[in-house]
Each structure stands twice: as structure tokens, then as C-alpha cells.
């Protein structure tokens, strides 16, 4: 006969098994760096599972104290024409932690650099806020933080990853669309997803070799999106009206 505690434990395991089944959430926790093995962190975003709820946007802002109006990640949402009429397309955007990051060589004070694990980071104490890296990033992933006056961007929540946790956006993704893990390890869930699916990256012609991969990416959103009108234009109209 099982005790009440054992039954509750089994229930918890069963519940975890449901939510952590392959494809729903990232089952591989970041490996502690103390083991000596250096992973290559990356992300797969399965757009078939993204519902555009912006939970990632909010959790990122909370975790990293991103000022209001700025975003380290955001789910761009579009209305796109389909065979059945207008449809909705979503595209979570963030730093791509490129293999060939154009933001690094331009930095005049060596404040931005790439760790061995592939994460591109910024030394906020060293950065002079010249904005050169912001110009050089082809993904609009960087911005000048209004509170700190230095360049800012996604770090894959390095403070969490170094502690063995998942990035906040992955942790809170209700659809399990974001999968974070070690791209080098053949046994990792992320490597399997890349192996088993057709994946795309944003703006591949820029030669940056992004390490954020997308499953189900609409080709019309892969490069500069030529949106005809929409919220940006509406904001522009408001500016003109106010001005």
C-alpha cells in the first residue's frame, strides 16, 4: 500500500510527464558549466506552437528589468493573406547569438563579446553607449537601454542558464514553442528538432549564421517584412496628429 506522499509524488510525475513530453517543453536542462564540457547554446522556435500570447515578452521584461517600451524579445504579429483569406502569422524576435556576430567587431571598447558557449553578451560596465553595435545588428535585436545608457539585448537569460535554469521566455512559453538547449550535443532535444524538421533562420543572406532556428517560418517574414500598413503606420499617424 502506498502512502499519501507517494501517491502525490506519482501524480506530480504524471502531470510533469504530460507537460514535458517531447515538443511541448524543453526537456534538457542547461548543463552546469562546472562539468568542463562547454555547450553551444541555441534555440529552436516552433512557430506551429506559438499562439502569440506574448508571455515570453512579459517574462523576459520581468526577468531582465527591461525598461518600458523596449524589448529583448517580442512576438511580431502579422495579418497575412492566405488561400482562405486573411490569416495570422507570428514571429518571435530576439538576439540570434550568431556564429558570426556583426555586433562584436564594431565595438570600439570591446564591451560586447561572445562566450565560449555561443552567448553574445555585453559588459555593461565597459559599454560607452556609442550605439555602433545597435546599427550593426541586422535583426533590430539591440537597443540602448534608457535606464542604464548602454547597449542591451537578449542574453538567453545567462544568469538563469549559468544556474542550471532555462531562459525565462522558454520557461513561460505556454505552447512549448521555444526550445532551448545544446546544439553541439547530438542527443539533445534541440539537436533532434533541427535534425528532424526543416528549419530556417532569419536573414540568412547577411552571413551572420544565426543560432535561433525557426520551424514553420513563413518565407514572407524571413527578411525585411514589407508591411503595407498596420500598427506602425497608425502610430505614425498619431505622431503627426499630435505634432
Amino acid at each position: 500500500m502506498k502512502s499519501r506522499r507517494e501517491i502525490l509524488s506519482l501524480g506530480a510525475v504524471a502531470a510533469f510527464g504530460l507537460t514535458a513530453s517531447p515538443g511541448l517543453a524543453a526537456p534538457t536542462k542547461p548543463q552546469a558549466p562546472s562539468s568542463g564540457y562547454v555547450p553551444r547554446w541555441g534555440m529552436v522556435i516552433d512557430l506551429r506552437r506559438c499562439i502569440g500570447c506574448q508571455a515570453c515578452t512579459v517574462s523576459c521584461a520581468m526577468e531582465n528589468a527591461v525598461p518600458t517600451g523596449s524589448h529583448r524579445t517580442l512576438v511580431s504579429t502579422y495579418e497575412v493573406p492566405t488561400e482562405d483569406g486573411p490569416g495570422q502569422a507570428v514571429l518571435p524576435r530576439m538576439c540570434n547569438h550568431c556564429e558570426n556576430p556583426p555586433c562584436i567587431p564594431v565595438c570600439p571598447v570591446e564591451a560586447t563579446y561572445q562566450q565560449q558557449n555561443g552567448i553574445v553578451v555585453i559588459d555593461a560596465e565597459q559599454c560607452v553607449g556609442c550605439g555602433y553595435c545597435v546599427q550593426a545588428c541586422p535583426y533590430d535585436a539591440r537597443f540602448i537601454n534608457e535606464d542604464t545608457g548602454v547597449a542591451d539585448k537578449c542574453t538567453f537569460c545567462i544568469q538563469r542558464v549559468d544556474g542550471g535554469l532555462l531562459p525565462a521566455c522558454v520557461e513561460t512559453c505556454v505552447g512549448g514553442a521555444r526550445v532551448f538547449g545544446d546544439l553541439k550535443s547530438e542527443n539533445s532535444h534541440i539537436a533532434g528538432m533541427i535534425r528532424d524538421h526543416k528549419v530556417d533562420v532569419l536573414r540568412p543572406h547577411m552571413g551572420t549564421r544565426p543560432q535561433v532556428y525557426y520551424i514553420g517560418l513563413d518565407g514572407r517574414l524571413q527578411d525585411r517584412v514589407e508591411a503595407e500598413f498596420g500598427s506602425r503606420q497608425l502610430r505614425g499617424l498619431n505622431v503627426h496628429e499630435e505634432g
Binding site: 506574448q54 517600451g69 523596449s70 517580442l74 512576438v75 511580431s76 504579429t77 502579422y78 495579418e79 497575412v80 493573406p81 486573411p86 495570422q88 524576435r93 556583426p102 567587431p105 564594431v106 565595438c107 570600439p108 571598447v109 570591446e110 564591451a111 565597459q126 559599454c127 560607452v128 553607449g129 556609442c130 550605439g131 555602433y132 545597435v134 546599427q135 550593426a136 545588428c137 541586422p138 535583426y139 533590430d140 539591440r142 537597443f143 540602448i144 534608457e146 545608457g149 532569419l202 536573414r203 547577411m206 514572407r220 517574414l221 527578411d223 525585411r224 517584412v225 514589407e226 508591411a227 503595407e228 500598413f229 498596420g230 500598427s231 506602425r232 502610430r235 505614425g236 505622431v239 505634432g243
Partner: protein, 343 residues
């Protein structure tokens, strides 16, 4: 392009390079251009009449330029970080060394051309070489640091560094024309350079537009989008043309009338300002993906206007300050009598 895509949720960033960058690039470009013109004038005779107004113009712009540059840093108090490392891959890092070297050269030249420095005139030639070399380096780095940015298609075109450098020389000759006219001095070759350079500038703008006509933004059409399609930025390109052509005509006519040459100089500087505003602010408003920047208007932005007034005010103070050192050629003729030497 009609593709039926509508953005439902998107966002705008503030500009990473603000209006200060425009003032800096305008001033440092004019300073470098004027310094090179002064160098070529001094090449034949270091006391030629046109050397003094050219040096005056170069020094005034050169001494003012670092201030808007510092203001454009979001952490200006950390500027020493430029000199505490060696980021040799970064063109901006090289520029951090070229600029003070150039300004220092100008400062020493001002002293050597002042009544106080007349007895050290034999050192002028070395300082001229130094200053001219770093003027070229400044022109190269300012154009280069932007041209290498592949993410900004309008900057990453072959026309960009050529036109930026050309407009720097034109604006430099414009400042010389203004200084010479107000001080009653001879602008020399500056006025001819202004006329020819302005015409070349207009031809270049038209050539740039023609070469990118019909192309997409990422394939040569970025400047066309800025210059023609984006309003009100498109209007600015018309102003650039008007300034260029007007400057050229007035410069030809102004060889006999100081007021006309001064007006030509003002138009040349205005053309360079408009060109930079369009290329710097307009290009930053061009979205790289879809998430884009807000449009940034000079006239509708109080920060930009006060920045302009502050920069002009600083320039005026430095101009007055320089009159104590670079005295009028009639007053400072002692050096001419003692040193009619070529470089």
C-alpha cells in the same frame, strides 16, 4: 509593393545615433576638408593669403566637433574606455585616436600662426604634414565606419563613402568662404573648389539615385527609398540639390563679391547638413526587419533644435576665441615677412 501583409503587433525603438551624430559628422567633415584645403594652399607658400582663413575655418569646426561626438555617447563620462583597450577591428576605435591627433595638429598650427608662435614658424611644415595626414585619416574613418555596416543598406553602398567625403570637402570650402568673406580675406582655391565640388555633389546624388532606381532596399535601392520615396525625407534631397546648384552658381559669381561667396558658403554647409541628416536619421528610420525606428524630424524635435542651437553657439564662441590667435593677415604680417617658405 503590395503583398497584403499588415503588422498587428510591432514596436519602435529610439534612435541609437541621435542628432548629435549629424552635427559631429558635419563639423569634423568640414574641419577635415578645410584643413586639407589649407594644407594645399600652404604647400606653395605657408603664408599665402588663403591659408589663414582656411586654418581659421578648420580650427573652429575641429575644436567644436568633439563636443557633439561626446554628447552622442549615451555614457559620455566613460569616453576614456576608448583608450584603455585595443579594439583594432573597430574602425570607430581607430577614429578615437585619429580625431584627437587631428585636433591637436590644428591647435598647434593655430599657435604657430598666432603672434605668439611666429618665431617657431620653421616647425609649421611638420605640423602641416601631421594635420593633413590625420585629416585624411578622419575622412577615411568617418566614411569607413558607416560603410562597413551591412545592416544599413543606405550606408553600405559604394556611393556612400564617396559622397560623404565629397560633401565634407564642399562644406569645408563653404566654411572657408564664410570666414574669408566676414574677415575680408581671400578664400583662394576654396571658392573654386566649392563651385566644382557642389556641381559634382549634385551629379553624384543624381547618379546614386539613377544607379539604384528600381532596385529593392537591400540591393542598391536604399538611397532611392530615402531620397525619393520616403516623405518628408524625399523633400530634403531636393533641398540638397538646390543648395548644391545654388552654391555652385553663387561661388562662381562670388569671386568678385564677398557677400555672394559667403552665401555660397552657407548653401554649401546647409547642403552638407541636409545630406547628413537624410543619410543618418533617414537610414536609421529604415526598418531592418519590420520592427523599425520612429521617424526623427529636426523641426519637430525640440532636442534636435536645442542641440543645433547649442552647437552653433559653441562654434560662435570658439570663432571669437580664435580671433585672438589667428589675427587678421594685415595685423599678423610679421610672419609673412620673415618666412616666405614653401612646405
Amino acid at each position: 509593393m503590395e503583398n497584403g501583409i499588415v503588422d498587428l503587433i510591432s514596436f519602435d525603438y529610439g534612435f541609437a545615433w541621435r542628432h548629435w551624430a549629424v552635427w559631429y559628422f558635419l563639423l569634423v567633415g568640414a574641419a577635415s576638408g578645410a584643413a586639407l584645403i589649407a594644407f594645399f594652399a600652404a604647400w606653395r607658400d605657408e603664408n599665402a593669403p588663403q591659408v589663414r582663413p582656411a586654418l581659421f575655418a578648420a580650427a573652429a569646426c575641429g575644436f567644436t566637433a568633439p563636443f557633439p561626438l561626446l554628447a552622442d555617447l549615451h555614457q559620455p563620462s566613460r569616453f576614456m574606455n576608448f583608450y584603455l583597450g585595443a579594439a583594432t577591428d573597430s574602425i570607430m576605435w581607430w577614429g578615437a585616436w585619429f580625431l584627437p591627433a587631428f585636433v591637436a595638429g590644428l591647435a598647434v598650427l593655430v599657435l604657430l600662426y598666432s603672434p605668439l608662435g611666429q618665431r617657431f614658424h620653421t616647425y609649421r611644415r611638420y605640423v602641416w604634414y601631421w594635420t593633413a595626414a590625420f585629416a585624411l585619416a578622419v575622412l577615411a574613418y568617418t566614411a569607413g565606419e558607416m560603410t562597413v555596416v551591412t545592416a544599413r543598406p543606405a550606408w553600405h553602398e559604394a556611393w556612400f563613402p564617396v559622397m560623404l567625403t565629397l560633401s565634407a570637402v564642399v562644406s569645408g570650402s563653404g566654411v572657408i568662404a564664410i570666414v574669408a568673406a566676414t574677415r575680408g580675406e581671400n578664400p583662394g582655391i576654396a571658392l573654386r573648389l566649392l563651385a566644382v565640388g557642389s556641381m559634382l555633389f549634385v551629379v553624384g546624388i543624381l547618379g546614386w539615385i539613377a544607379s539604384g532606381w528600381g532596385d529593392t532596399v537591400g540591393n542598391g535601392g536604399a538611397f532611392v527609398e530615402l531620397a525619393v520615396k520616403d516623405n518628408p525625407v524625399g523633400l530634403l534631397i531636393v533641398m540638397t540639390g538646390v543648395c548644391g546648384l545654388g552654391g555652385a552658381v553663387l561661388a562662381f559669381a562670388g569671386t568678385r563679391a564677398a557677400a555672394l561667396s559667403a552665401l555660397a558658403g552657407v548653401l554649401a554647409v546647409l547642403g552638407a547638413l541636409v545630406f547628413r541628416w537624410e543619410l543618418f536619421m533617414g537610414a536609421q528610420a529604415q526598418p531592418k526587419t519590420e520592427a523599425g525606428f520612429q521617424s526623427y524630424s529636426l523641426l519637430a524635435n525640440s532636442d534636435a533644435l536645442t542641440g543645433l542651437l547649442g552647437t552653433v553657439g559653441l562654434l560662435a564662441v570658439i570663432l571669437v576665441f580664435l580671433t585672438f590667435f589667428l589675427v587678421h593677415e594685415d595685423e599678423g604680417s610679421e610672419g609673412r615677412r620673415t618666412s616666405h617658405t614653401a612646405l
